[in-house]
């Protein structure tokens, strides 16, 4: 059995845009992804070092006044993303325990780059208060100035380094 083809990008974009619009109307905010790592880190840190976490410039607001960092719209939305991605991959025949990489690189090197890239992105999403979903996509659609700066810099960062890591992909 073969995998179904991907959707036309413009069709996928329209569905994504309508989902985002519905999210603005229902939740009063856009979609996000980095809420999951941020709130998990806040939860774990609060268990280990409560005072430090409450005073932390980035984690404090998730646990202030005894709040439960997991009781949050964005966090639960990310759980929906997991389910949607999983069902989407299964129904398209695309679910597969494998590693995506270019032909000229070993699995091990690819996974090391994936880990390194993840660490850099976790740090970056902390600094920028959001990631491609929360800043570029959602903030971009509300025309927030800083989100547009963020989005253009994401593309700039990607193109700036693309040549250096080309062996991974092409």
């Amino acid at each position: 059995m073969n995998a179904k083809p991907y959707w036309n990008p413009y069709v996928a974009g329209v569905l994504l845009g309508l989902t985002l619009l519905a999210t603005f109307l229902v939740a009063g905010q856009g979609l996000g992804a980095s809420a999951l790592p941020k709130r998990t880190v806040a939860f774990v840190a609060h268990e280990v070092a409560p005072t430090w976490t409450e005073d932390n410039p980035t984690l404090g607001r998730y646990v202030e006044n005894g709040a439960n960092p997991f009781k949050d719209w964005l966090l639960i939305e990310v759980i929906g993303v997991v389910l949607g991605g999983f069902i989407g991959a299964m129904t398209a025949g695309r679910f597969s325990a494998t590693v995506e990489k270019g032909p000229r690189i070993s699995v091990r090197t690819r996974l090391l780059f994936a880990l390194g890239g993840g660490v850099v992105m976790g740090f970056a999403a902390g600094l920028a208060r959001g990631c491609t979903s929360g800043q570029a996509l959602s903030g971009g659609a509300t025309l927030a100035t800083g989100s547009w700066v963020f989005m253009l810099m994401v593309f700039a960062g990607g193109y700036a380094l693309a040549y250096l890591v080309r062996r991974q992909w092409i």
Partner: protein
């Protein structure tokens, strides 16, 4: 026309349930667009597959045009929508770093979730890296004051139309026009670079069988359990007080409604600054005389500068109920007369924000003076948002 946003919900649980549904659509659309595949995403940066750009900008256009059209028709109130505040340098540097991490891992945070959910090890490893990076930033921002200054500098709400000094419709149309031209350009660029690198082999892969399905089902089950645990987590218990407590906003609402059964006592030692409108100036001894003969149905509310006063003296009539304003006049000023910034984290916060905006508008037009026998302020005129009370929350 009446506003369709913000919506009201019967309960916090129902509100959080919408998160599962909308997140599901988000994840499903990302997967079907090919965003669970790191190679397809990375191809954006080698120009032979511009799907990332096409999907992302189509989505931005649809949501932006929809949002600003509804706002223009008066169907959506943008003032209570959460807008990402602008922290220019943190976002510029963070954006560049995120782009660098994107091309290293081939995924961004949202797509790494989808990639991991579709079984890809590289997606799961990227996601693990994001957790580590998030923890690293949280520690680093605490350790390095320079990083904290970078992180904290800015924070104003800035929208492109204001920043550029152009009317909103002009900016919306300009973004649409620029994106349309960029789509045409992207199609041509793709054709040029596909002849150089070829297309990505998009793996018609065999459909997996049982073990992976079981693994993934177990993962979904764990996620559902996590949600139910989060919902059932106990809310913090209020600390018991000798005198009851009233939220500044609740008091403001009863003043707006000219509730005859509320009597406010101003117990501040220094009343040179303006206080809560309609309050009676008093101290411990004069209050006793003021309160004698007051009907038992009247609820007495006292306040001081910062809500330290939490006990009623024994000389006050025991037939009456007493409450103090949480946080005193400081909280009143911060929460009632100063319009709040939207935070948008929970439904309860958002409903509070709506009430607060109505009330702040009311009190900003009222002379806030303490008198010895102030008449109750005039009732809120109808039509100014209706002043209807929202039920719900937890």
């Amino acid at each position: 026309m009446s506003a369709i946003f913000p919506l009201t919900f019967a309960s916090e649980q129902l509100y959080l349930l919408t998160a599962v549904g909308l997140g599901f659509l988000f994840g499903f659309a990302l997967e079907r667009a090919g965003f669970g595949n790191a190679r397809k995403l990375a191809a954006q940066f080698y120009l032979y597959d511009m799907t990332v750009f096409k999907v992302m900008f189509t989505a931005i256009l649809v949501a932006m045009v929809g949002l600003y059209t509804l706002a223009g028709l008066g169907l959506v109130d943008l003032s209570v929508l959460w807008i990402n505040p602008t922290f220019m340098w943190a976002q510029a540097i963070g954006g560049f770093l995120l782009g660098a991490g994107f091309i290293m891992s081939g995924l961004c945070p949202g797509t790494s979730v989808v990639s991991a959910a579709s079984g890809r090890y590289d997606g799961a490893v990227t996601l693990a890296g994001i957790f580590i990076g998030t923890a690293l930033f949280s520690v680093a921002v605490d350790w390095f004051p320079a990083l904290e200054r970078l992180y904290e500098s800015g924070g104003e709400i800035s929208l492109l139309p204001t920043a550029l000094g152009l009317p909103t419709p002009t900016v919306v149309l300009a973004v649409v026009a620029a994106a349309a031209m960029a789509f045409i350009g992207a199609e041509q660029v793709e054709r040029i670079f596909q002849s150089k690198y070829g297309t990505i082999e998009l793996t018609p892969r065999p459909t997996p069988r049982t073990p992976r399905i079981k693994f993934a089902l177990a993962g979904s089950l764990a996620a559902v359990t996590l949600v139910s645990v989060a919902w059932k987590a106990p809310a913090p218990e209020p600390v018991p007080m000798p005198m009851g407590v009233i939220e500044p906003l609740d008091l403001a609402e009863s003043i707006v409604a000219s509730d005859p059964n509320v009597m406010i006592l101003d117990l501040r030692p220094d009343r040179s600054a303006a206080g809560i409108p309609g309050a009676f100036a008093a101290d411990d001894s004069t209050a006793g005389a003021l309160l004698t003969g007051v009907a038992p149905s009247v609820r007495v509310v006292v306040y001081d500068d910062d809500g330290v006063r939490r006990a009623a003296p024994a000389t006050w009539p025991s037939t009456l109920t007493y409450r103090y304003v949480r946080g005193g006049l400081a909280a009143w000023t911060a929460e009632v007369t100063t319009p709040m910034e939207p935070t948008g984290y929970t439904l309860a916060e958002r409903e509070r924000l709506l009430r607060q905006h109505e009330i702040a508008a009311y009190f900003s037009g009222t002379a806030a003076t303490t008198t010895t026998a102030a008449p109750p302020p005039a009732a809120m005129t109808s039509g100014a948002g209706g002043g209807k009370k929202r039920k719900g929350g937890c």
